[in-house]
Amino acid sequence: MSKNGMSRRSVLRNGAGVLAATAVGAPMVHAQGTAGSLRFAFWDHWVPGSNDALKQLATRWGEQNRVNMTLDFINTTGNQLQLTIAAQAQSRSGHDGISLLPWDPGTYADQLEPCDDVMQRLTAKYGAVNPVAEFLAKRGGAWRGVPATSGTQAKPACVRADLLQQHAGIDIKAMWPAADRAGPGAENWTWDTFATAAEACHKAGVPFGLPMGQFTDAVDWVGAVFLSYGARVTDEQGNPTIRNNAELRQAVDYLVKLSRFLPPEVWAWDDASNNRALISGRSALIFNPPSAWAVAKRDAPQVAENCWTVPMPGGPKGRFLAYLPYVTGIWSFGRNKTAAKGFLEFITQRENCDFISTFGQGYDIPPFLSMSDFKVWETEGPPVGTIYNYPLKAHHQATYSIAFSPAPPELAQQMYLQALNTKVVARIAQGNESMDAALGWLEREIINMRRGG
C-alpha cells in the first residue's frame, strides 16, 4: 500500500474527510458560490398531487437563487404538524420555516422571525391582506410569518341545489350565479330563511349537516352566526360581555332552535362527518371548503353535479364568512433567514398563488383580497362555476371572520380551541340547562382563561 503512495492512514484520513463532507455539507454539494440550503415543512395537502405545486416552485426558486431546497410535508392527522411545531419551538431546532396553523403565530411569536419587510413589499404590490390573516399573523405590531395560500380555506355553504329547490323552494343557483352579481332573492339569504329551509329539509329526511361538536368546522360556522347577530362574548380587551347581552342571547337562542332540525348525532360530529353526510346524499347543505364536493366528484358524481357553493347567510349585523388561514413562519433560530424570506415572497406572488390554488382544485385561498378572481374558481366543475362563489367577492357584501375575534388573540385562541361557542349551545339544547345557567358557565370559563398571564 505505502509503496504505491497510499498508506492505510492516508486512506482512512481521506475517507473520513469524504464522509464528513458528505454528512455535514450534503446540501452544499452544488454550493460553489450558492446561497446555502433551506428546509421547509409545509402542511401535507389533502388534494392528491397538490404538494407538487410547492415542490415545483421550490425547485424553480432554488435554481434561480442557487439555494438547495428541501421540502417536507407533514399532515394534521393526529395533530402531527402541531406536535412538530411545538417540539421544534421547545428544542429551538428543526426546519428553517414551517406551516403554522391559524393560532400558532401568536403562540410562538417570540420564536418567529418578523416578516414585515416581505409583507410591506407584497401589500404594496397586491393591496390589503385578508383581515383575519392579519389578526392571526401579527403580534406586537409585527408580522410573525407570511400568510399562506396552500391550505388556507373558507367555509361557505355547499348546497345540494336540487334538494333545496325541491324541499325549501329556494333556487340557490339563481340567487348566487357564477357571476359577479347577486341574483334575485339574494338579499333574503338570511339566517331566518336558512332556519325555515333547515326545517323543511329536516322534514324531508335530508337535514342540513351542521356539526355542533368541538372541531373547527363546528366552531367556525357557529362563530359566523354569532358575528351575524353582533354577539360578542368579550370586548377587544378580553373583558367578558355576557351579562345583559341581548345579541348574544338572540344568537344562542337561534342556534338552539336551529339544532332541533339537525341530525341528532351532530353533537359528536368531527370535521369529516359533515363531508360524509353530503357525499352520501343524506344532507342538503353543509358549511365547508370544496373538499367535500371534490371527493363527491370522485365517489358520488351524481351528488357533485348538484352541489353549488354560496356565501353564508346574513344576519342583523351583516354577513360573515368563516376563514382559516395557514401562515408560513420562519424560526428565529433558523440558519438562513434571508433566503427563507426570499422564498416566501416568491411563492406569494400572484402568479404563484394562482399556480398553487389551481393545483388544489381551487381549495386554497390566497391571503390578498385582490386575488379572488383566479380562473380556477370559474372553470372547476361539474357543474361549471360550482365554486365560483367560494372566495369572498364584492357582491357578496360579506366579511371574512374567525370565531371569537376581536378578543385578544391569546384569549380568542383558547376560547376557539375549547369550542366555547358550541358548548354553550350544547348545554342548553342537549344538556337542558337554562340560558342563564349556560351563559353563567361561559362567563366563568372566560374569566378563568384570562388568569395566569
Binding site: 400558532d104 359528536a268 362527518s273 344538556g431 395566569g452 398571564g453
Partner: protein
C-alpha cells in the same frame, strides 16, 4: 536502567495506584458502575422530564414568569376541570373494576379447560391486548360512528332503535369504558391465570375434604392466595388507565361538552392545541398525587401480607 526503572516506578506510584485499584475493586463501586446506565436512563427519561414538567407548571402562559401554584389554583376554580377530575376517576375506577372482574372470570374459565385447548383460547383472548390501542380504537370508532355505526345497523335489523354511542354524554362515557375494558381485560386474565396455576392443588383437596363449597373455596383459598397479584395488577392498571389518552382522543375527542375528557386528553388540549403548555403540564401533574396515594395504600397492603406470610 531497566532494573532501576522497574525498581523505582512502583515505589513512586504505588500509593495512588493501589488506592485506585482498591476503589475500583470495591463492591459499591462495581455496583454503582453497573447500575450507571440504568441511572442515566431513569435520570434522562423519567426524572428530567418529570422535573421539567413540574417546572413548566409553575410558569405563566407565555413561560416568561414564575407564578408558583397559580396554574393549579386556576384549574381548581374551573368547572370544566373539576368535571375532568370526576370523569378521570369515574373512567379509571369503573374500567379497572370491570377489567379485574372480567379478567378473573376468564382466568377461571381458562383454568378449567384442558391444557391443549387452553393454549388456543389463551392466544385468542390475548388478541385485544396485543393490537396497538390507537388502531383498535379506530375500529371501535367505526362501530360507534355517529351516523354509520355498524352496531346500530345490527340493532336496527332487530327493530332496536339506534344508540347515540358518542353523541349522548353517558353513552359516550360508557363507550370509552367499553373500549378500555375490551383492551385491558386480557392483561388481568393472563396475570390471574398465572396466579391460579401457582395455588397448590392440595389446598383445594383439603378444603374439599372439609366439605367446603365452591364459593367457600374461592373465598377462603383462591382469593387469599391471589391477594397480592390482584393488588399489584389493580395498581398497575389504575396507573395505566388514569394516564390513558388514545382511546378518548380517537373516540370522542373529549366530547360531548368535555364530558369524556380524562387528564391526559385534557392536558393535550390545553397544553398543545390551545397553546398553554404550563397549564397543560399542571393538568397532567394532577394525576401524580392521586396515584401516589393509591400506590401507598396498595403497596402497604402487599407488604403487610408478605410479613404475615413470612
Amino acid at each position: 536502567m531497566a532494573d532501576g526503572g522497574v525498581a523505582t516506578l512502583p515505589r513512586a506510584v504505588a500509593p495512588g495506584g493501589a488506592s485506585l485499584k482498591r476503589f475500583a475493586r470495591r463492591r459499591s463501586t462495581i455496583a454503582f458502575l453497573m447500575t450507571l446506565p440504568l441511572i442515566v436512563v431513569i435520570g434522562g427519561l423519567v426524572a428530567w422530564p418529570a422535573g421539567y414538567a413540574m417546572y413548566l407548571s409553575t410558569l405563566n402562559r407565555r413561560m416568561t414568569s414564575f407564578i408558583g401554584l397559580g396554574n393549579f389554583e386556576i384549574l381548581l376554580d374551573s368547572e370544566t376541570f373539576r368535571m375532568v377530575i370526576f370523569q378521570s376517576m369515574f373512567f379509571a375506577i369503573t374500567a379497572v373494576i370491570l377489567k379485574a372482574g372480567i379478567g378473573f372470570w376468564l382466568a377461571h374459565m381458562l383454568h378449567h379447560i384442558p391444557a391443549k385447548g387452553q393454549r388456543k383460547w389463551r392466544g385468542m383472548l390475548l388478541v385485544p391486548w396485543v393490537i396497538p390501542p390507537a388502531l383498535s380504537t379506530l375500529g371501535w370508532w367505526w362501530m360507534f360512528e355517529p351516523t354509520y355505526s355498524s352496531i346500530n345497523w345490527i340493532l336496527n335489523i332487530f327493530a332496536v332503535p339506534s344508540v347515540p354511542w358518542l353523541g349522548e354524554p353517558w353513552w359516550a362515557r360508557t363507550s370509552v369504558i367499553i373500549v378500555n375494558v375490551w383492551y385491558g381485560a386480557p392483561f388481568f386474565m393472563i396475570m390471574y391465570l398465572a396466579a391460579l396455576k401457582s395455588v397448590p392443588e392440595q389446598l383445594y383437596e383439603a378444603a374439599q375434604i372439609d366439605g367446603a363449597t365452591s364459593w367457600q373455596r374461592l373465598r377462603y383459598v383462591t382469593l387469599p392466595m391471589m391477594a397480592n397479584i390482584i393488588s399489584i395488577t389493580v395498581l398497575f392498571s389504575l396507573i395505566v388507565t388514569f394516564a390513558n389518552y388514545d382511546i378518548v382522543r380517537v373516540l370522542t375527542n373529549g366530547g360531548p361538552r368535555d364530558l369524556t375528557h380524562v387528564f391526559a386528553s385534557y392536558a393535550f388540549q390545553v397544553g398543545i392545541l390551545a397553546g398553554n403548555i404550563p397549564r397543560g403540564a399542571a393538568v397532567s401533574l394532577f394525576m401524580f398525587p392521586i396515584l401516589a396515594i393509591i400506590a401507598f395504600f396498595v403497596l402497604r397492603g402487599v407488604n403487610r401480607r408478605n410479613r404475615e406470610e413470612a
